[in-house]
């Protein structure tokens, strides 16, 4: 082959340049041609067939100048989203129907919240999650919630703070007072050993008296909805949810108020610093048992008793009381879970991991085994700090019990 001459090189180079624009910006789309979905809700439609998809859409009010940012940001109360719904035989079909009603292309990329209505949740929603996991646009890290009543109504609420009601939910989930479940977690739970799932339960906060407008409220996380397979079997309130979090090793913030034995009156409030829970399964002579080992560190943040905590005797009392409180919470959660026979604590996985052979045989009997599993608690509590003052701050010295 003859080496290309300089002239031919030039031609080749310009041809190569000409190839570039052939790509033709084929999937280029401007931000102002997009419908930015901030949240989606799935409900059971009235026709009793298929699914109703509602989306919360951000309204870009084109202020242009720098004022636009200030007007909408953080002020809340202002309506900067709207909700639109469509019914389809599948979720994807519903989306296509929705697209007909919107002048811009639907963009799922920033949808961070998915709410499932109570009715749909009770009937099962497994097939809709497939859309989330399969389609390229939606985020698998979106948070999933179950709402009391219609999910669409939660989307329509207008919060006082945060830019829209879905953002409120997302931030609440982020605080970890309840559980936080993403679409990916949900898919994992649905395909897990026990086939159970838990999702945060959302209720509408009753609007305060001064606020006449019913819409000016928020949805907030008040407990956990429990699922067997993909059907909701019931829900537990926030108190029981906390017990569940201890068992699941998901507890991040907790405030525990106890009354130590020695104190005649008053209470001690402690803040959780860090905690680690461990599930240790055991099968002995065909008897299944589970040890819940918890290692916790707490700080004293309020002390209304007359005890002086520099005395280690009293401190041990407090630690004991805290351990008992934690165990009580766990027992409560376990009792509730057993009522519906849903293993939301991951007992099934731990048994599977330790006794794979036994599990293979007994797997199908898990529903019978789970209520019978004996649960033992081993809770270790350590008070790490006594707070800024060690002595009684509001009581005269003679009242403080030193010994």
């Amino acid at each position: 082959m003859i080496a290309p001459s300089r002239f031919r090189k030039k031609i080749l180079f310009s041809l190569w340049l000409a190839v570039l624009p052939l790509a033709g910006c084929w999937d280029r789309i401007e931000v102002n041609d997009l419908i930015l979905i901030t949240a989606a809700a799935l409900d059971k439609p009235e026709e009793d067939k298929g699914v109703e998809l509602s989306i919360q859409v951000f309204i870009p009010r084109g202020g242009g100048g720098e004022m636009s940012g200030m007007k909408t940001e953080g002020s809340g109360g202002d309506e900067n989203t709207f909700v639109r719904s469509a019914v389809g035989v599948t979720l994807a079909d519903a989306m296509a129907k929705l697209q007909e009603k919107l002048p811009r292309r639907i963009f799922w990329g920033h949808n961070e919240v998915l709410i499932i209505g109570e009715e749909l949740a009770k009937e099962g929603f497994r097939e809709h999650i497939d859309f989330w996991m399969r389609y390229t646009e939606p985020r698998e890290r979106a948070d999933v919630f179950v709402s009391k009543g219609k999910a669409k109504e939660i989307l329509m609420l207008i919060p006082k703070i945060e830019r829209n009601s879905s953002e409120v939910l997302r931030e609440l989930a982020e605080m970890r007072t309840g559980i936080k479940v993403t679409v990916k977690d949900l898919a994992q739970m649905l395909t897990g050993e026990s086939g159970t799932a838990a999702l945060p339960w959302v209720e509408k906060l009753p609007s305060s008296n001064e606020e006449k407008d019913e819409k000016k409220s928020i949805g907030y996380i008040y407990g956990t909805a429990l699922f067997k397979k993909d059907r909701m079997v019931g829900w537990i309130n926030d108190r029981v949810t906390r017990g569940m979090l201890w068992l699941r090793n998901e507890i991040e913030t907790a405030l525990i108020t106890v009354k130590p034995k020695e104190a005649e009156e008053g209470l001690v409030s402690l803040n959780l610093v860090k905690s680690n829970s461990q599930l240790i399964p055991q099968i002995q002579n065909g008897k299944w048992s589970m040890t819940v080992k918890i290692d916790t560190e707490v700080d004293v943040i309020q002390n209304t008793t007359n005890l002086e905590f520099t005395n280690p005797k009293f401190l041990q009392e407090v630690e004991k009381a805290v351990a008992k409180d934690i165990e009580d919470r766990e027992r409560m959660a376990l009792a509730q879970a057993r009522e519906w026979n849903v293993d939301i604590f991951g007992f099934a996985e731990t048994f599977h991991r330790k006794y794979p052979q036994v599990w293979k045989k007994e797997k199908d009997r898990w529903d019978q085994i789970f209520p019978e599993v004996e649960v033992k608690y081993e809770t270790k509590v350590k008070v790490a700090r006594l707070g800024l003052s060690t002595i009684g701050t509001t009581k005269p010295e003679e009242e403080v019990k030193q010994k």
């Binding site: 790509a23 401007e30 931000v31 102002n32 930015l36 870009p60 084109g62 963009f107 985020r139």
Partner: protein, 520 residues
């Protein structure tokens, strides 16, 4: 090859027009008149050449030839003409030795060729022709107007020398010599340009600079056949390794301290008469990212500023491209809150992000160029208008969204963070193709652009030194002056170009370590 030969031929003709070769090769004759006639025919129609006829010591006819304005007339009158006219000597033959005795001028040279005389005259040295002498006598009394040594405006520092090179080669070499007093500092002189006959000096330190490198530089400079050299840029483009590159392969600096430091690193400095810039060769890309102050300030601060520069190099190159790519292809990559704000501000913009970015970037480039070119008195006006154009007014007029204004502004600042203007401008220029690529192909296009750029940088050489060394090829020993600026007590070894001699530039282990504790 035929084109090349034709060029040569054309060149010879032009040279003949310049000085008649026949005359130039000739020696001077004993006859004063014929000598004067030769010179006069060479300097035909040159009103600034003075032929001063006089009688030397009353008996010998002589002519003093010089160019008005290039010669120190006072000195000539006082120290050359006065002793020659007044003193009445009996000696008939005046040789150069008697001249040296009688005339209080330190530089006296005797020449016997016409061409040498012409060169001396061109350089401002008066030439004395005498009747009955084959030799002409040259007095080193050239003097012309020149700028004072000032602070270089393009490379200012807070700490460090305030001296800058000026347009006179001799002053420039003296500035170097004042910094490096060792006789190992050599300066080879060459004349380039058929008409300008510009003096070019190649400076290097013997023992530090690789002799092959010096030879190569000399040869490349000597090869230049050109009408004139008015600035180092002429030479730079004639001797660089890769003529098809936006990146400078020689460092142009106005600072004698930078030139001296380069000499000490074994590099070669090319000084050109008539410009205040000198060239340094060979260099690497990272040399272009170093500011003199990196070495004068504290090393920790120098190192962190260096990293700041690396960061902003990337921003200057990719800032608007990333904005365009992400905004038109990968909206999911932007944090939600930011995207909502961008969506709001873009609501009124009629253009796609790429067009919007191009409009604003080109406007910015225009403003920058106007700022450089405009007279200083109008400069303030430009900055006010510029602030309005890129900023409030552009957003209010609905031409650009405020996030983009922000991106353009940061990019603008970023490119000025590069200490060498030539590097900055190359990066600014490359920003546009990458921007278009990312407008066509998104982040994929941007990365394609970056990859092409890296490949190009890897192929570059500056006098045989790989442009990206010591990163690619990796030379770990030299990273001390690239990734960070090592403290001076750690800078024990020289960079690579010097590797012919000793690699150590100072004795190791000089970290200051005062005795602690037991002094009372």
């Amino acid at each position: 090859m035929s084109i090349f030969r034709r060029n040569r031929k054309w060149l010879d003709q032009s040279r003949q027009q310049n000085i008649p070769q026949k005359q130039a090769k000739e020696g001077l004759s004993f006859d004063l008149n014929s000598n004067v006639q030769t010179l006069q025919s060479i300097y035909r129609d040159c009103s600034d050449v003075v032929f001063h006829h006089f009688n030397m010591m009353g008996n010998t006819r002589a002519v003093l030839v010089y160019i008005d304005g290039l010669t120190n007339i006072e000195e000539v009158n006082q120290h050359v003409l006065a002793p020659l006219i007044s003193e009445n000597h009996h000696e008939q033959v005046i040789s150069i030795d008697t001249m040296r005795e009688k005339i209080p001028v330190s530089q006296i040279v005797e020449v016997d060729k016409v061409i040498e005389a012409v060169e001396a005259i061109a350089n401002g040295n008066p030439v004395l022709l005498m009747d009955g002498q084959r030799q002409a006598i040259i007095f080193g009394l050239g003097k012309w107007e020149q700028r004072n040594i000032e602070e270089p405006t393009a490379e200012s520092v807070i700490r460090g020398s305030r001296e800058g090179f000026i347009e006179s080669l001799r002053v420039n070499t003296s500035l170097l010599r004042r910094r490096i007093k060792s006789p190992a500092l050599k300066m080879k002189s060459l004349g380039i340009g058929h008409y300008t006959r510009t003096e070019v000096a190649i400076a290097y330190i013997e023992g530090l600079a690789n002799p092959d490198l010096v030879e190569e530089v000399t040869q490349r400079v000597q090869r230049i056949e050109i009408d004139g050299v008015l600035e180092t840029g002429y030479i730079e483009e004639m001797i660089e390794d890769n003529p098809y590159s936006p990146f400078p392969q020689l460092l142009a600096t106005e600072r004698p301290d930078v030139a001296a430091a380069s000499l000490l690193e074994g590099r070669v400095v090319i000084l050109v008469d008539g410009t205040s810039f000198v060239l340094v060769a060979p260099i690497t890309f990272f040399v272009l990212l170093q500011a003199p102050e990196d070495y004068y300030g504290r090393y920790m601060i120098g190192s962190s500023i260096r990293w700041l520069r690396f960061l902003f190099l990337v921003i200057a190159l990719l800032g608007p491209s990333a904005y365009v790519a992400v905004l038109s292809y990968h909206q999911e990559m932007i944090p939600t809150t930011l995207l909502l704000t961008i969506a709001q501000s873009r609501e009124r913009i009629p253009f796609p992000a790429l067009i919007e970015a191009l409009i604003l970037e080109i406007t910015f480039e225009a403003l920058r160029e106007a700022g450089v070119r405009l007279p200083k008195q109008v400069g303030a006006a430009i900055s006010i208008v510029g602030a309005l154009v890129i900023g409030q007014a552009a957003t209010a007029a609905g031409l650009a969204s405020s996030p983009l204004v922000m991106v353009v502004a940061i990019t603008g600042i970023a490119s000025f963070l590069l200490p060498r203007y030539t590097t900055g401008i190359a990066i600014r220029m490359l920003r546009f193709p990458i921007m278009i690529l990312s407008g066509i192909l998104g982040l994929l296009g941007m990365m394609l652009g970056v990859i092409a750029l890296v490949i190009h940088l890897c192929t570059l050489r500056s006098f045989g030194v790989p442009y990206l060394s010591p990163i690619a090829p990796l030379k770990t020993r030299e990273l001390k002056d690239v990734l960070y600026r090592a403290p001076w007590w750690k800078m024990d070894t020289r960079p690579d170009p010097a590797n012919k001699g000793s690699i150590f530039r100072q004795s190791p282990g000089q970290k200051p370590n005062p005795i602690k504790g037991d002094e009372q």
